[in-house]
Subunit: 290 residues, 4 copies
């Protein structure tokens, strides 16, 4: 089918490519004229036949908000907007309401796949009305990996981004668990072949997983990760997971531990631990490192 | 090759069976005469040709200690004992020293596989001297899953149980991460199909894993787990992982969170939270539930 | 000085009383006519001489918002509104902007004191412009405990509620630490007099504190807290502390642990732990409690 | 009364001094002849009248074990040994058994006080038989702070060190809670006077405590702790608290978080976070800092 794609960066560009390979007609728009098929959002909308479908794949926050507002002005009743970016799930209902007031549909889609998606397919998690999801199924089917999994209609508007957010929260916790185990093995005098241990775990164990395979690949490149700094960004979705959990009074100790470990990794020095040092010094005359 | 197997319970019995299917001659001993090939440990030893190999597969702690001590009396220089149970890694050096004084070899093996092992193979993690590992390779090759993974010679005596322990620690953290994510999805009003969400994640996502597949299977049997109580035992290895980490000054926040969640799950009521309630009542006149 | 007090519940009523005892003229308004000095907010405003000061002491959220909006309509330029409730610090700037547009000042005050405040004084933490704080000093001086401490002008509008929020976060962590220690002592076979232990700690130790004194008082009433349930509400400020920390990328592992322990205490059964039980059952045939 | 004191370092020396000021006769022994009253342990024992009391105040572990073993050889039935060091509670029963076989009594005492103890008194927590505690009461009474608190007979042999250990665990959690709150206040744009905030909290708040007073003192010396490094040792007792909790299946999330924060503070770089960075790079092409 025909679809407009707004945002042709690493994610959007590859998704457009996968859609074209799958036989769809993609009209792409990007702020960068060198990679854009059209000169403006208006031109994009003009190039599409009604009822139109426009997939927005731009950074979360203001870029997404601005794009969707502009599309709300340009599109017509019966058209459909998809937000495939990493938006916060609360933004989705705002967008749906605003577009809905003009008769335009809205679907939010959490997309997982990173650099692997073009070749292997993108895991898709959608939220929205059944009739909108229905219309998008040819697109979803092409983007997702082959087989019966890799796509879900998770619930109402917002559900796509909500479940993608939780997916990432789980990912934080699983990565942290593997990383903690690796650190402990590296610290042991008994264990002399840590890489071979992780390699062996790829078969027959409870923890076999794609992350374990990536871990082995990373250790094959650099067996003690001596080339790396222990510094990890967080993408925002880990934070949102914890904040959503706090709102829902759901305890997330392992996932939160993973998020906090990332926060700590980015501190040149820990203010809290300065205070611990200061307090120890006050009550015990413990020496402080300065 | 020929091997003695001590302990023919769920694990040992199935391992003996997999070894026999693989062409090995297994002489099994169990306290339960109904399933034992021989009447005593002495008879087991007599039935084996020197140099003998005896695999001990009995509960960790006293049963394992007693069995290995008895074997130390019965076996001869050049024989080899394998502890395939869930022993603590510190016990291994004790056993190796005691047996070594009589010229008997010792290898510790962490075994993962549970109810799936007979059919799919057991993941094996071994610690010991290279020449002992070498002698056992025909056994390991039959027990482990097909393919290049599923077995590792991880290091010195103790390393097998140490890495198996850490494997289980990682397992605790990964399970907890998935469980937390599931609880948060269940708590959300937006998400209407949690089972379908987890199903879809089996393809194309970062968190695809065997545990995720088990989770889907569990939800297919009981979509909201309403038949279950939130009560989880711990096998000991999670505790040992945390204690070893504390000894090595390695922070394990996610894995420890998983262990503590299990502790809490087994308390009819939390003493600590009684104290929180009591304190709130003292300073704020907050009502307490009694 | 003269002041209007809106909300004469447990907190507001006692604060009005403490102000009166300190020689101030308090005109109180409450929705409950039985305890109200005036029949309406309008009447309250009419009774005060310009420039007026009105202290709002009603539940956080809608009641506070509605009250402040109404006061914005009734008051005049030069008047001053104080929000002494448990409002979120983000609400303060909204209120200050709205009132400021009409020339009305705004100060936020976090108030600690609970049932002890009337007699011993309330700890006050204020945010706002120096000239507004200045005007309120006679009120603050009467409300706060005697001595040089117990009051702070912490910063800009919002700072009062922010630091009160963090105070409560610290309180969560300190209470949890004491509660965990108590639970561990109760679990020990060696320790035969837990109450006497805590009593003794009131002198000469690093952990001597008001909370420790309250803990002793609680144990004196009920030595093993057998009359209580391990069920603890959270007042909202603990949640806000964690959410603010996540926003600021500040790791708060101990305070968050305390918050999550309260969440868990309120669950009849833990969904996450049901999932752990389900997963254990899937991979290991571990028996589940149902 | 008469007492021998073994170990005249910072703690033992000051305790001997406090005892002398209290009218006791102290014979001190230290490896350092410059500060020792006698030339050997044997000479110490010879100088004391039977039934003798010897207080051991040397570093935990081997020094304490060696000293107590040697005293076991030198002392006679009816004598009494006190271990006032930071020994692990499990060692106490070993010592008590060994000494008891020769008719010598044993009492373990956890001592808190640091640099403040000489002037203000030491908080003492004792474990042992009532008749031994009874004999030591004149000593305890002089060492402890004035007033009814500051000493407890907590239970059996081992209980003194156990409760001291838990005291320190609670201390870790309370310090961490304060440190986390301070870090969050420092991170806020709204709060302009963090030091004044903590100062004010010394009166009327729930968190008023000796640690809060020390915190204020530390900030008065260095308002943003810019002279300190965020590096904190742990004394061993925090680790033992967590290990004891794991053994007793008691969840200690806040105290453990405090311990792990110290571990992390001492790592030049976090191995676990290197792995997180490596994994992010593998699946997402996220840039890594190297």
């Amino acid at each position: 089918m025909q679809i407009g794609m707004v945002g042709l960066g690493k994610m959007g560009g590859n998704m457009a490519e996968r859609l074209r390979r799958g036989g769809h007609e993609v009209v792409g728009y990007d702020r960068n004229p060198a990679i854009s098929d059209v000169g403006s959002l208006r031109e994009l909308v003009d190039r599409l036949q009604a009822p139109r479908t426009v997939w927005v794949m731009v950074p979360a926050g203001d870029p997404t908000r601005t794009t969707i507002e502009r599309l709300g002005e340009l599109l017509s009743a019966g058209d459909l907007v998809v937000d495939g970016g990493n938006s916060h799930y609360r933004d989705d209902q705002v967008h749906a309401d605003r577009l809905g007031a003009r008769g335009i549909g809205f679907v939010d889609v959490g997309v997982s796949g990173g650099v692997w998606g073009l070749r292997e397919g993108y895991a898709l998690m959608a939220g929205g009305a059944p009739e909108h999801i229905e219309r998008l199924m040819p697109i979803f089917t092409t983007l997702k990996p082959p087989g019966e999994d890799g796509f879900v209609h998770a619930g109402k508007v917002g559900a796509g981004h909500f479940v993608k957010m939780v997916h990432n929260g789980i990912e934080y916790g699983m990565m942290q668990s593997l990383a903690e185990g690796w650190e402990l093995l590296e610290a042991s005098d008994l264990v002399t072949d840590v890489l071979a241990t992780f390699r062996s775990w790829r078969s027959g164990t409870v923890i076999r997983s794609w992350l374990l395979e990536l871990l082995v690949r990373a250790l094959e490149e650099d067996p003690h990760l001596s080339e790396l700094k222990g510094y990890a960004e967080d993408s925002g979705e880990g934070r949102w997971t914890v904040q959503a959990a706090v709102e829902h009074a759901v305890p997330l100790p392992a996932i939160t531990a993973a998020l906090y470990a990332r926060f700590t990794s980015r501190q040149a020095d820990s203010p809290a631990m300065k205070m611990i040092a200061a307090l120890r010094n006050q009550f015990g005359g413990h020496p402080v490192a300065s």
